[in-house]
Subunit: 211 residues, 2 copies
């Protein structure tokens, strides 16, 4: 049984456990520094009065990301990756053991900043979000088809910098739809708040869908 | 023999072969979209009248990067990574077989955009450059110590966007020097050209040092 198959099996077990408790987990993948943590922080602000939240973070060396979320009063679990270039279902399974699933509605998982490996390692989440930034240039979607084929939502972040970068958001969106025509793409700026309500609404719909 | 040990052995063989022919290889690592290709393009412009150049590119899915360099009249080899999250010495060894080492002075190798794995897989280069961008945020160096400990030169790119990002270049440089006090750090903007002469001079010194 290959590594990928073993992971897929554990991911299915995680998903069954989450579904059993009516808990939704969402996997936030994306490039390094694309804005995953900032986006999660904004979503926590929007959701914490209506949903019981938990956040899992894959940062291996610093606690900056985890502390930021914890300061919002939301339980956070830091996943202990050892030189990990992606999270896996095993790590998420361990984090689920530390979480009282009866008291949680939505778990936001921040994956490792990497546009290659995480695509191959599902975690058992109900949805996968890919966060890319206009500051990475115009070819980010074209260069990483596996990531986008495995995504349910694409967030094109830092649109406030699109003009100075000379990157067209519409081109990135078109590249995503060329790969996967029904892929939901939302341009955002965590700085100005643009697009965040749309992302929140999409994820709330996933949470309420109870599938 | 572990994967890492096997790679280290091949890297040593690559290095011996390069040294034998008086060829310098430089490994450009860095985050996704940090500016590796643009930097290499600028260096090719500066070096092509004084050195015989070749460029190896690890891009797995598109030829945008390779075509850009080839259009400058420099021989390029695209390394065939399969879902690769890092280049390895084996791939570089194969690319060396396709290169007439008697006719080359300097090989610029663009590694996969990834701030985790490439650190563990030396390629046999004489020097390793890490390219990060201010657009990735203020903690990029702190979050990836392995990468910076293995670097000979750190390029902090896109400084033209430092102010709008609220990121202080001096803080990133200080984090690098905290890890490795003698690490050379050069802030650059491939857009304005700032810092590029300093990077070129540093790499020219490595090339001429014949070590
Ligand atoms: N200009 C601008 N900056 C942003 C935006 N979103 C996030 N940032 C900044 O981008 C940097 C990186 O943001 P993070 O949220 O830490 O990104 P990340 O994807 O979690 O990064 P890693 O976990 O280190 O891979 C920080 O300095 C943020 O303040 C945005 O929409 N516009
Ligand atoms: N504003 C600004 N943009 C830059 C700078 N350097 C590169 N860019 C832009 O950043 C984007 C990414 O640059 P690349 O050179 O493709 O980066 P890369 O590291 O090779 O990217 P990958 O190979 O895809 O990981 C492109 O749109 C470049 O034009 C800079 O100094 N300032
Ligand atoms: Mg983060
Ligand atoms: Mg490139
Ligand atoms: Zn990987
Ligand atoms: Zn890896």
């Amino acid at each position: 049984q290959s590594l990928l198959q073993a992971n897929a099996k554990l991911a299915a077990e995680n998903r069954a456990q989450l579904d059993h408790h009516g808990v939704t987990a969402i996997d936030f993948m994306g490039a390094i520094g694309s804005g995953k943590t900032t986006l999660i922080t904004r979503l926590v602000e929007k959701f914490k009065d209506q949903l019981n939240l938990a956040v899992f973070n894959g940062d291996a060396t610093t606690v900056d990301d985890v502390n930021l979320i914890a300061s919002q009063g939301v339980p956070t679990v830091q996943l202990a990756t050892v030189n990990g270039c992606h999270l896996d279902a095993n790590l998420v399974g361990k984090a689920l053991l530390k979480t009282d699933l009866k008291k949680v509605d939505l778990i936001l998982i921040e994956n490792i900043g990497n546009l290659i490996c995480p695509a191959e390692f599902p975690l058992g989440s109900r949805a996968r979000v890919v966060v890319v930034s206009v500051t990475e240039g115009p070819y980010m979607v074209k260069k990483h088809p596996h990531m986008f084929l495995g995504a349910d939502l694409v967030v094109i972040n830092k649109t406030d910098l699109a003009e100075v970068m000379g990157v067209k958001v519409a081109d990135l969106a078109r590249d995503a739809h060329t790969l996967k025509p029904d892929l939901k793409v939302v341009p955002t700026s965590c700085k100005t708040g643009a697009g965040l309500d749309e992302v929140a609404a999409a994820l709330l719909a996933v949470t309420k869908s109870g599938v």
